[in-house]
């Protein structure tokens, strides 16, 4: 209500004029109606704005023609007329968009007589739309939030599953590691057992081989000895053929015993656990040549051992056997009527020493150079004495001392045998 400057006058304001002004300016739509059909007699500008019609189009029209939901309006009006009390009603309109119409009506009374009804109509579309939109936005927001939460939960679940999987894998890995450790333990035990078994088997083999020495060689000694006695004592009564037979028996026994003896040496060298220590080559060669002295003299052989002689890492008795066999071969494998010549010398090659045993013998064709180191291989058959074990022993012996053997030779051109051992 516009404020009017108050005056001390006791004259009351011109109310109708004031009321009209107030109604004209009221922000709420106000109209008066008259008669049974509620003809509109007055509509304020707000009422016109609401219905989007000028006053001229509203005044004189029945209210029901102007408002939506005519029936509801009219019913409300009638109720007011009858009861002479305020009435209200809210109506929802969905087209073109949701709006809410709020009707409030109250009677205008003069001395208990109803002279008119005040109607207040409010459309809350504008506000409601925004509220609805906001609500929708909130809802969408919450849905989005829900979706995001759901996504986060899903991700969480996935992560948890991955963690669980990882844990499972780790568990499996630990289990596998434990099994592996067990297995390694088992394997170590197995290896230890196998090693013990091998050691036992080796000992057994040694025992068998020793048994051969005694059991087989004894009858051979007897064969050789008695065949010799036979030839000596009964020989005078024998025919030449008889003497020959006795000799052959004797020689065969000798040969077999020689084979067994060399085989025993070979197996002993294969099986022995030797410890290497510094060995003076000069000493070993001296001992070997002393041992072969009678052989050298008998064959009128020339044996030369050229200085210098380094010290090598070896096992002295085994090395002695090696050199004995090599020099012995050099004295043996010569063409008839050839004076055997054997030359020994050493060569330093980095951390190894190569010992050469060179002869002027019958030589070995390149194709046969591998064969000669094999057990019981006699390249020239019975042309030369020997059991075919000598070089097999040399190879086994040198290998057991961590070295290598080899030969350079050609048929009819002598041989140059070599072996290498570590320098001490």
């Amino acid at each position: 209500m516009p404020a009017k400057p108050s005056s001390p006058s006791s004259q009351p304001p011109d109310l109708p004029e004031l009321c009209l002004a107030v109604t004209e300016h009221a922000p709420l739509p106000i109209a008066t109606v008259e008669g049974a059909t509620h003809i509109v007699r007055y509509a304020n500008p707000a009422f016109c704005r609401l219905l989007r019609k000028p006053a001229e189009q509203l005044v004189g029209q029945p209210l029901s023609a102007l408002l939506p939901e005519k029936d509801a309006c009219v019913t409300l009006l009638d109720r007011v007329y009858r009861s002479k009390t305020p009435q209200s009603h809210i109506e929802r309109e969905d087209k073109p968009h949701p709006v809410f119409w709020s009707y409030v009506m109250w009677p205008v009374l003069t001395n208990e007589n109803l002279v008119g009804v005040m109607i207040q109509v409010t459309e809350t579309a504008g506000e409601r739309k925004e509220i609805v939109a906001m609500n929708e936005a909130l809802m969408i927001g919450s849905v989005r939030q829900h979706e995001l939460t759901a996504a986060a939960d899903a991700l969480n679940l996935q992560l948890q599953q991955q963690i669980a999987e990882r844990n499972r894998i780790e568990g499996a890995l630990r289990e596998a590691q434990a099994r592996l450790t067990d297995r390694a333990g088992d394997l170590a035990e197995l290896v230890a057992r196998r090693t013990a078994e091998l050691v036992a088997a080796n000992k057994q083999l040694e025992a068998i081989v020793h048994s051969i020495a005694h059991d087989l060689r004894a009858p051979l000694r007897a064969m050789q000895g008695f065949a010799t006695l036979l030839a000596e004592q009964e020989g005078p009564t024998f025919s030449p053929m008889g003497k020959d037979f006795a000799t052959r028996i004797s020689k065969s026994a000798e040969y077999m015993d020689a084979m067994l003896s060399e085989l025993l040496t070979f197996t002993r060298i294969s099986q022995q656990h030797i410890e290497l220590s510094p060995v003076k080559l000069q000493t070993v060669i001296g001992s070997v040549l002393a041992g072969l002295r009678s052989d050298i003299q008998r064959k009128n052989a020339q044996v030369e051992a050229a200085d210098p002689w380094p010290v090598v890492l070896a096992h002295a008795p085994t090395l002695t056997q090696v050199l004995f066999n090599l020099v012995s071969n050099g004295l043996k494998f010569v063409a008839p009527d050839v004076r055997p010549q054997v030359r020994l010398h050493a060569e330093e090659r980095a951390e190894f020493v190569r010992v050469w045993v060179e002869d002027n013998g019958v030589g070995i064709a390149p194709g046969h150079q591998d064969q000669i180191f094999r057990l019981f291989t006699r390249l020239h058959g019975e042309k030369f004495s020997g059991t075919g074990v000598g070089l097999a022993i040399v190879q086994k012996a040198i290998e057991s001392m961590g070295g290598q053997v080899g030969v350079e030779s050609a048929d009819g051109q002598g041989s140059r045998f070599w072996f290498e051992l570590r320098k001490a």
């Binding site: 004894a218 009858p219 000694r221 050789q224 000895g225 008695f226 010799t228 006695l229 004797s250 002993r268």
Partner: protein
Amino acid sequence: MNYNHTILLVDDSENDLYLMRAAFKKAEFNCPLQEAHDGEEAIAYLDGEGQYRDRAKFPLPAVILLDLNMPMKNGFDVLDWMRVQPRFRRLSVIVLSASERPQDVEQAFDLGAHSYLVKPRTLEDLTAMIRCLRDWLKYNQFPPLNEAARR
């Protein structure tokens, strides 16, 4: 010295004993030879047990040629028995065995053997060995074995 020292041959092989005797003969070594066929018999002989009490028939030897591999107590057992008998410490024991094994050689010497010979392959070599023995005996000084300490 003289050739009359008794030599005790200890071996379980009849063949080897026969050939040894043949070798002694070929080597022209005519010393008295006695035989024992296993370790127990050898110990009984040395101890003068049973028939061996008769020292006229079974004199104490100056040298024993001892095989190692024998039943009923082997050569090592005999050596072991002998070395704890003070009276037999003076007895020369030569091991004559088919074994060339280093551990056998070592053990024999550890138990008091004075020599270790390996039975040769041929009768000729055995004869040469016995010839050696004959010559050695010619020069070796043998201490008397203390008969009184036997009891």
